[in-house]
C-alpha cells in the first residue's frame, strides 16, 4: 500500500541545523518523579528565551539536561544540529552553563577563579582580557581580593564575568543569573545578553522576576504550559 510521505520530523538534520539548540520529545525527572514530558524547544541564533515556571516545575532540571549534566528519560537534544551525546570538544565549547552556584573557590582571588574556569574550557585569556571581563561586570576593583571576602552580589558578578570571555559561544544556559545582582549588575548583564544576541548567540535563562532586557525582548517559554509564547 502506498503511504504518503510524512511531514518532516523536526529532528531531521536539515531542520535542526538552523537551530542552535533543539529538544525533541524531551522528558525529565528529578529522583523518581517525572517533571515534564513531550517537551519541544528550539532556540534559533540570536534568541533570548526566558524559561518560566512555578517553583519545583523543573527549570533547573531542564537547564542541566540541556547542558549535558544529566541524561533525559526520553527524547533527544541537538546542539547545532548534532545530537548532544555525540558532541565532541568543539561543540561542548560552544555551550556555556552557569548554574545556581557560582563555581568560585573561596581561597582563590577573583582573577584566579575566573582564569581557572576559562582554562577548564580550554581558553587561555591574558590578564588584560580577564580584567576587562571583570570590569564589564563592575568588579575590577576586587580582582585581587579572595573570593571568600566578596559579597554574594560580587561573587555572582565574578561568575557572570565568564560570559564576557565567552561571547563567541553559541549558547548560554543561565540559571537565575540575576540572583543577588543590584541595578548596576542587572544592567551589565543585560548589556552582555544584548551583545551576545547581536552576535547570533542564543540564550536560555531562568529568572524569578521578569527580565528587564528590552532589546532584544526575551521570549517566554512557560514550563507550566510547555510552549513558547
Amino acid at each position: 500500500m502506498y503511504m504518503p510521505p510524512a511531514t518532516p520530523h523536526p529532528s531531521t538534520p536539515a531542520a535542526a541545523a538552523a537551530s542552535v539548540l533543539q529538544a525533541c520529545d524531551l522528558a525529565g525527572q528529578r529522583g523518581d518523579r517525572a517533571l515534564f514530558e513531550h517537551l519541544e524547544l528550539a532556540l534559533e541564533p540570536g534568541a533570548v528565551v526566558w524559561l518560566r515556571g512555578r517553583n519545583g516545575r523543573g527549570k533547573t532540571t531542564l537547564l542541566r539536561l540541556l547542558a549535558g549534566l544529566a541524561t533525559p528519560m526520553a527524547g533527544e537534544i541537538r546542539v547545532n544540529g548534532v545530537p548532544q551525546r555525540q558532541a565532541g570538544p568543539p561543540l561542548r565549547r560552544s555551550v556555556v552553563y552557569i548554574g545556581h552556584q557560582n563555581a568560585l573557590k573561596d581561597d582563590l582571588t577573583a582573577m584566579e577563579a575566573l582564569l581557572f574556569l576559562a582554562r577548564t574550557r580550554g581558553d587561555r585569556p591574558d590578564d588584560a582580557a580577564l580584567t576587562a571581563a571583570l570590569q564589564r561586570l563592575g568588579v575590577r576593583g576586587s580582582r585581587f581580593a579572595p573570593v571568600r571576602t566578596l559579597s554574594q552580589g560580587q561573587r555572582r558578578r565574578v561568575a557572570l564575568a565568564r560570559l564576557a570571555l565567552c561571547l563567541h559561544a553559541d549558547l548560554w544556559l543561565l540559571d537565575e543569573p540575576f540572583d543577588a545582582l543590584d541595578a548596576d549588575g542587572i544592567q551589565a548583564l543585560n548589556g552582555l545578553l544584548a551583545e551576545h544576541a547581536a552576535r547570533g548567540g542564543a540564550t536560555l535563562m531562568t529568572s524569578h522576576q521578569s527580565p528587564s532586557l528590552r532589546d532584544p525582548e526575551p521570549r517566554v517559554f512557560d514550563l507550566d504550559r510547555h510552549g513558547l509564547a
Partner: protein, 222 residues
C-alpha cells in the same frame, strides 16, 4: 586533555598552599598514629623493629583514606565539579588530576616522613630503603583507589565511613606486597618480585581507576 589535567592539578596545589594547616593534617595524623604503637605494645626494640613495616603501611593507608574523603566534596558544594564535567576535555583528566594532587599533598609527605619514623623504630638502613621504595610505588595506588571511593560516595551522608569500607579491601594487595618486601629484605631474601607486583598493581590501577572515577563523578552529579 593535558590542559584540563594541569589546570586542575595546579589549582588544587595552589588551594592547598593557601590552607597549609589543612594540608599538614594527614602527615601529622600519620606520625601521631605511629607513635601510639610503642606505647601500646611496649618499648621492646626487637618487637618494634619487626612490626614497623606493617604499621607504617597501615597508618599510611588510614591517613590516605581519611584525607581522600573530602577530595571532591568542596568542588561539588560550590558548583566547580559541574563546570569541570562540562569541560570540552574528558572527565578522566579531572579524575587523574585530583588523584595526582592527592598523592602530591598526602602520599609524598608521608614518604618524606617515613625515614624519621623508621629511625624511631630502629629499622636498619636497607629495610628503610625497601619501605620507602614500596611506599613510592604503593601510595599512588592508595590515592587512585581513594579517589574512586570518594567519587562513588560523593554526596552521601555517611560517605566517609563507607568510603573506607569500599576502598580498604581493594588496597590489601598493596599492603601485603609493600610490607612483604621489607620482610624479605630483613630476612636477607630478594624482594624484586614484591616490587614488580607493586609496580604491576600501580599500572593496572592507574589505567583502570581514573575512567571509573570519571563515570562515578558523572553519576554522582546527575
Amino acid at each position: 586533555m593535558r590542559d584540563l589535567f594541569l589546570a586542575v592539578l595546579l589549582r588544587d596545589l595552589k588551594l592547598a598552599s593557601r590552607r597549609r594547616i589543612d594540608s599538614l593534617l594527614p602527615v601529622v595524623f600519620f606520625i601521631v598514629a605511629l607513635s601510639l604503637f610503642p606505647l601500646g605494645v611496649g618499648p621492646e626494640p626487637q618487637m618494634l623493629r619487626d612490626i614497623a613495616p606493617g604499621i607504617v603501611w597501615v597508618c599510611a593507608l588510614l591517613a590516605s583514606m581519611l584525607s581522600v574523603g573530602s577530595l571532591f566534596a568542596g568542588d561539588l558544594a560550590d558548583g566547580s565539579l559541574e563546570q569541570l564535567l562540562l569541560a570540552p576535555q574528558p572527565a578522566i583528566a579531572v579524575a587523574a588530576a585530583k588523584s595526582a594532587a592527592h598523592w602530591l599533598l598526602t602520599g609524598l609527605p608521608l614518604i618524606v616522613a617515613t625515614p624519621l619514623v623508621g629511625l624511631l623504630f630502629g629499622m636498619s638502613g636497607s629495610a628503610l630503603l625497601a619501605l620507602v621504595a614500596g611506599l613510592l610505588l604503593g601510595t599512588p595506588i592508595l590515592s587512585l583507589l581513594g579517589a574512586l571511593g570518594a567519587a562513588l560516595t560523593l554526596g552521601l551522608r555517611s560517605g566517609g565511613m563507607l568510603l573506607i569500607l569500599i576502598v580498604l579491601p581493594l588496597t590489601m594487595p598493596a599492603l601485603i606486597f609493600g610490607a612483604g618486601a621489607v620482610g624479605n629484605i630483613e630476612a636477607g631474601l630478594d624482594a624484586g618480585g614484591h616490587f614488580s607486583l607493586l609496580g604491576a598493581l600501580l599500572l593496572a590501577t592507574a589505567l583502570g581507576a581514573p575512567p571509573a572515577t570519571a563515570a562515578a563523578l558523572r553519576i554522582s552529579t546527575e
